[in-house]
Amino acid sequence: MQIYLPIADLPVNIFLVLGMGIAVGFISGMFGIGGGFLMTPLLIFIGISPAVAVASVASHISASSFSGVITYWRKRALDVALAMMLLSAGILGTFAGVWLFTLLRAMDQLDLVIGLSYVTLLTLVGGMMIWESVRAELRTRRGMPATLRRPGSHNWVHGLPLKMRFKRSKIYVSAIPVWGIGFSIGFIGAILGIGGGFLLVPMLIYFLRVPTATVIGTSMVLTLITMASATVMHAVTNHLVDAVLALILMVGGVIGAQFGVRTGQRMRGERLRLLLGLLVFAVGLRFAFALVVKPDDLFSLRAVGAE
């Protein structure tokens, strides 16, 4: 069944888009990520312009992260104080990102920067996750505990001033790395049209040593607020949010996410991280492939302005 999208200006098959929403929702529920890095390329692939895809995916992610936030809130598994600290810098990062986005777009190099950033980020993060989870897997095989507990293992991050206590997460860290992480997530999210959950979770674990109990819930609060405000920002600045597309995506997304969460809970953490690592790495390779292989058509068109 075809439905015409009022902002994207083209008809799409409603069941195809719903199916994409369910599939990405399943993955996002399973791994506790927004799934923007999968959804945006998929939408571009079915012919929706990148700008509309990025803007509409933002509202889709806010829906799925809100349903996640409610679930984690009930379990008291989120750290609001930490999320607010990250957010205060995240907003600045978003503004900086939107500014660079506009600049690069005017210079015709946006595709390249997005492509290169995706390749670098995804292969690096994916590779690190695979490496880390394979080592954990091997340790379990040898009968050792899966995760090495290093109590009191302080890295350079813990030597910074402006220390703050986050009660729910039971951590005592400097505000500087928290702001730094918040800023970079906001910045990357605005340029690449992703919530940044798959980056934020490992950053919080490795740099701030946020316990696994609160990390996903906290990351989801941040994703929710940045993506909801990104929706409004995109709607105000370039009028490219397609509400019809977003609604189909979010309905599929929240249904898929519920099944994803159930599947994810039945799996061990290391196995889950390995799978996510492989997925992230594969998407990164796909982007690398697109940059290196000669394109079918060397020419491309982009609208600069209408009458």
């Binding site: 009022p6 200006d9 509202s59 809100f66 349903s67 409610i70 409004v232 979010m250 060397l298 009458e307």
Partner: protein, 257 residues
């Protein structure tokens, strides 16, 4: 002096009556195309007849007809990729200034057979002769038809179904009655579409008329598009609220504890 004026007048009236020996009457099946949520493209039909201007005037044995449908103008950039350090990068681009967002040149015969190259260029008959100004420094100018950027531009627009040139679209039902189908693909831009109908005989244009159609969003589609354009903040807030509602509903429906 007087004689020269009279001569000019005579020539002028002669010219006018010669050019007006035939008259074109055209009618469109539908002047307004509504883009609704079930829109998947549409085909309009343009009918027309060739009539003698005066009852006594004789009609010619054969005519050629060229129908040009042009969409609202827009400015586009054509970019070319090249391999730099192993990856493919946009290295060069040209801006096509205020070119049609949709362009259909429909005729009953290949345009090469209809008029002399000079006539075709002057009247912009055929995609190769259509004026596509590029920004060159502070100026804009059209280039030769085989300019690589121009060729790529036409090729891409044709691939998207937005530009087309067809030598079989116009059908003469009788020697003086014709019809042509104007295909509007699903990605057709909204706006006004002037239609230019040119009648040729013996390689020269002998009559010309115009019509127009309008493509616009209707109903729900129009409502959403207007809201997004005119009330960006409200629209964004509403979309975000819709997202929160969907997420909240999902957490209630699927609640297990």
């Amino acid at each position: 002096m007087m004689r020269r004026l009279a001569l000019t007048l005579l020539l002028l009236t002669a010219g006018v009556s010669a050019a007006d020996a035939e008259r074109l009457v055209v009618s469109l099946s539908n002047h307004r195309v509504a883009v609704t949520s079930s829109f998947v493209g549409e085909e309009l039909v343009l009918f027309g007849t060739i009539e003698p201007d005066q009852p006594r005037a004789a009609l010619r044995p054969s005519y050629d007809l060229v129908v040009t449908v042009r969409g609202p103008r827009q400015t586009l950039r054509t970019r070319r990729k090249e391999r730099v350090l192993g990856i493919w990068v946009n290295v060069d681009s040209r801006e096509f200034v205020r070119v049609p967002s949709y362009l259909a040149i429909l005729s009953n015969r290949p345009v090469e057979a209809i008029g002399t190259p000079d006539v075709r260029r002057r009247l912009q008959v055929g995609l190769d002769n259509y004026l596509l100004p590029q920004r060159i420094g502070p100026d804009t100018a059209d280039t030769v038809p085989d300019d690589p950027f121009r060729a790529a531009f036409l090729r891409l627009e044709t691939q998207y179904g937005l530009y087309r040139q067809s030598a079989t679209s116009v059908t003469f039902l009788t020697p003086t009655v014709f019809r042509t189908a104007i295909p509007l693909p699903s990605n057709v831009p909204t706006g006004n579409y002037p239609i230019d109908v040119k009648l040729f005989a013996g390689g020269e244009m002998i009559a010309r008329t115009s019509s127009a159609l309008e493509v616009r969003k209707a109903g729900f589609e129009q409502y959403v598009a207007d809201a997004a354009r005119d009330h960006g903040l409200l629209y964004g807030l509403a979309t975000s609220l819709m997202a929160l509602l969907t997420g909240w509903l999902a957490s209630i429906v699927f609640r297990r504890d």
